[in-house]
């Protein structure tokens, strides 16, 4: 399903954190948001998964205004992997994944066979079926992330929002997580720190700096040496992957200013 962010603005305590951002993702696309720390990526995404109400602008999902839907209706169409995965209590993996069914169930409804089938399928999709009875707190970082993705998939969303899904993961898991969400079906909107991962996986990239979109397009068009110098303050060299030919970047810091 298509998702469109239309002139979205967020002001908190007088500061404009997101400034009239407009972007979209077509059905089945994986669209990446990149930008330096504090550029407004997470704030923008929090508006999309409704942890935050935008000051102005709209998020449209399949043409409908997301904030006009009830939170439950919204959560049936859009799932998210926020950064705040706190686990104060000892839920099992199966219980965590079952939470993904929350927007599909009434408050006192029993878990149906359909719920169980969807949850089992989601765990299988992320290759974590064997973890079902484990305590979430006993899992490694990579296992936890896969389980949280399974929870989002159990929501059967049409759009999936990921906020730094590869944080704290080793390189194999970073590569795997994006391949996994890509294969899982829904349209994906993801904030990513790793520009090489973004270049490899995203159909389109939007670069955010200071709450504004400063560049949009395919990774190849967007990730130019000039833009990376402007936005991230690094010197970048574009190289082709020796096997696949895909765009990859090598970085170093600009030379220090000579002492006066």
């Amino acid at each position: 399903m298509r998702i469109d962010i239309d002139a979205l603005t967020v002001e908190i305590a007088g500061a404009r954190l997101v400034d009239e951002v407009t972007l979209g993702a077509a059905d089945g696309e994986l669209v990446g948001l990149v930008g330096p720390n504090g550029s407004g990526k997470s704030t923008l995404l929090r508006c999309v998964y409704r942890a935050l109400r935008p000051s102005a602008g709209a998020v449209r999902i399949g043409g409908e205004d997301l904030h006009a839907l009830t939170t439950r209706e919204g959560a049936r169409r859009l799932a998210a992997l926020p950064q705040d995965a706190v686990a104060e209590f000892d839920f099992t993996v199966a219980e965590i994944v079952a939470m993904g069914r929350t927007p599909h169930q009434g408050p006192v409804a029993r878990t149906t066979d359909e719920d169980r089938r969807v949850c089992d399928g989601a765990l299988r999709d992320v290759g974590a079926a064997h973890l079902a009875e484990r305590g979430f707190l006993t899992l490694s970082g990579g296992e936890r992330q896969r389980v949280l993705i399974a929870r989002a998939l159990a929501q059967q969303p049409r759009v999936l929002v990921l906020d730094e899904p590869t944080n704290h993961l080793d390189i194999a898991h970073q590569l795997e997580v994006l391949r996994l969400v890509r294969a899982s079906g829904p349209t994906v909107l993801a904030a990513l720190h790793d520009l090489n991962l973004a270049a490899l996986h995203c159909d389109a990239l939007h670069v955010i700096a200071g709450g504004r979109i400063v560049a949009s397009g395919t990774p190849d068009d967007v990730l130019t040496a000039d833009l990376l110098a402007d936005v991230f303050g690094v010197r970048a060299h574009r190289v082709a992957h020796p096997e696949t030919g895909a765009l990859q970047l090598l970085f170093d810091l600009p030379p220090a200013h000579p002492a006066p």
Partner: protein
């Protein structure tokens, strides 16, 4: 901390004869365990030292619920039968039957009947209501402030109620209300405390967990200081003593008149929590996760605050601040059936009810005819049980 978790997570392989033997080897391989790809599909199970290799993590829910549902009426009966004045079981059942059916008893039996029907039974019923209320609210408050150390008193409402109750006990305030003065004053000041905590803790982002805990704790000390001052300023020694009893929690003032309001509040609170069980699961995972799951965390936290305050106020008004139940029973229930609030909210209130009935019975008979404060016994029974469960079941909360 992740390393420690990985160690715990791989310490006991499935099918090993002794989990203890597996430990050194598990330590050596622990760093590898963080990479999924190198772990065989058949993963080692978490360490369950003392329970053998089988991961006997949970008690079957139907069994536990059946047990508790049977234990509750039996405990109520025992609460009515056991006490300082040794009445026989035959007498007790006859008086209970007479009380239930309105049957006749002889004139010489009136004192014994009064003990069973007017003193002990309402007391046992009230103990059950208070135990259920404190346990359920403990579960709710822990999810609401996302803190495993929270209990119903962390919001400062109980100590607010204490101010009102002590004003009645020591200075004879609200004398016009007669026997209702104490519970009315306690409930009214609990509501006042609640309004104060809410007003202070509230921000434009709603009620945030840490702010709630900090505000509640600060208010707790403030109200406690007022109570302590009143006890010291009191001229009558006996009033100060009963004020103390009330601070520690006691069911000695129980009568049938106190039951309907307390039971009504607790049942209404339980109904709301049962209705919110799924939303509580989502809230326990974080505000943003809750929002992504279609649960409005601000609205839910507001609802929980109101329900917790009202139930705590009603419970404290009839029994004082009985400590430890609201902290311990939720954790004990979690160890038995896991963290899912749908199961937790079925088990915790029943377990709390049964526990408090027996604690109250003990408080009456241990030093009979003198009465021990209930809070002393909840700690005496609760602490060892808690430690035992925590050690046996490799229970983890807060990532520890």
């Amino acid at each position: 901390m992740d390393c420690e978790r990985a160690l715990c997570g791989t310490a006991a392989g499935r099918g090993r004869t002794s989990p203890r033997d597996a430990r050194p080897e598990a330590k050596a391989t622990a760093p590898v365990a963080t990479s999924l790809d190198r772990i065989p599909a058949e993963l080692p199970r978490p360490a369950r030292v003392g329970t053998g290799p089988a991961p006997l993590r949970r008690v079957p829910l139907p069994l536990l619920l059946t047990g508790l549902c049977l234990a509750l009426p039996v405990s109520l009966l025992c609460g009515a039968a056991l006490g300082a004045s040794g009445l026989s079981w035959a007498e007790v059942t006859r008086y209970l039957w007479a009380g239930l059916t309105g049957g006749a008893i002889g004139p010489d039996e009136v004192p014994a009947y009064t003990i069973v029907w007017e003193l002990r039974l309402p007391r046992a019923v009230l103990a059950a209501v208070v135990g259920a209320g404190l346990s359920a609210i403990g579960v709710a408050v822990q999810a609401m402030v996302r803190n495993a150390l929270a209990d119903p008193f962390v919001l400062g409402i109980s100590s607010g109620a204490a101010v009102g109750a002590n004003a009645v006990l020591i200075f004879g305030a609200m004398g016009a209300l007669g026997v209702w003065a104490l519970s009315t004053a306690a409930f009214a000041s609990a509501l006042l405390a609640m309004t104060l905590v809410y007003a202070v803790a509230r921000t434009e982002r709603g009620l945030t967990p840490l702010r709630l805990v900090l505000t509640g704790t600060a208010m707790y000390y403030g109200f406690s200081a007022v109570t302590t001052f009143m006890v010291f300023a009191a001229e009558r020694g006996e009033a100060a003593r009963s004020a103390m009893m009330w601070l520690l929690g006691s069911l000695s003032g129980a009568n049938w008149a106190a039951v309907p309001i307390a039971a009504g509040s607790v049942l209404a609170g339980l109904a709301h929590l049962a209705w919110s069980a799924r939303r509580l699961n989502a809230l326990a995972m974080g505000d943003e996760t809750a929002a992504a799951l279609g649960v409005d965390p601000r609205r839910l936290r507001r609802e929980l605050f109101l329900v917790s305050a009202a139930v705590t106020g009603a419970v404290v008004a009839v029994s004082g601040a009985i400590g430890f139940v609201g902290l311990m029973v939720p954790h004990a229930a979690r160890m038995l059936v896991g963290a899912d609030h749908r199961r937790l909210l079925a088990v915790a209130p029943l377990a709390g009810a049964v526990l408090l009935i027996w604690v109250d019975v003990l408080s009456r008979v241990v030093l009979a005819p003198a009465e021990l404060p209930v809070g002393v016994l909840t700690a005496v029974i609760g602490v060892p049980c808690f430690i035992l469960l925590m050690r046996r079941r490799a229970y983890s909360f807060g990532g520890i």
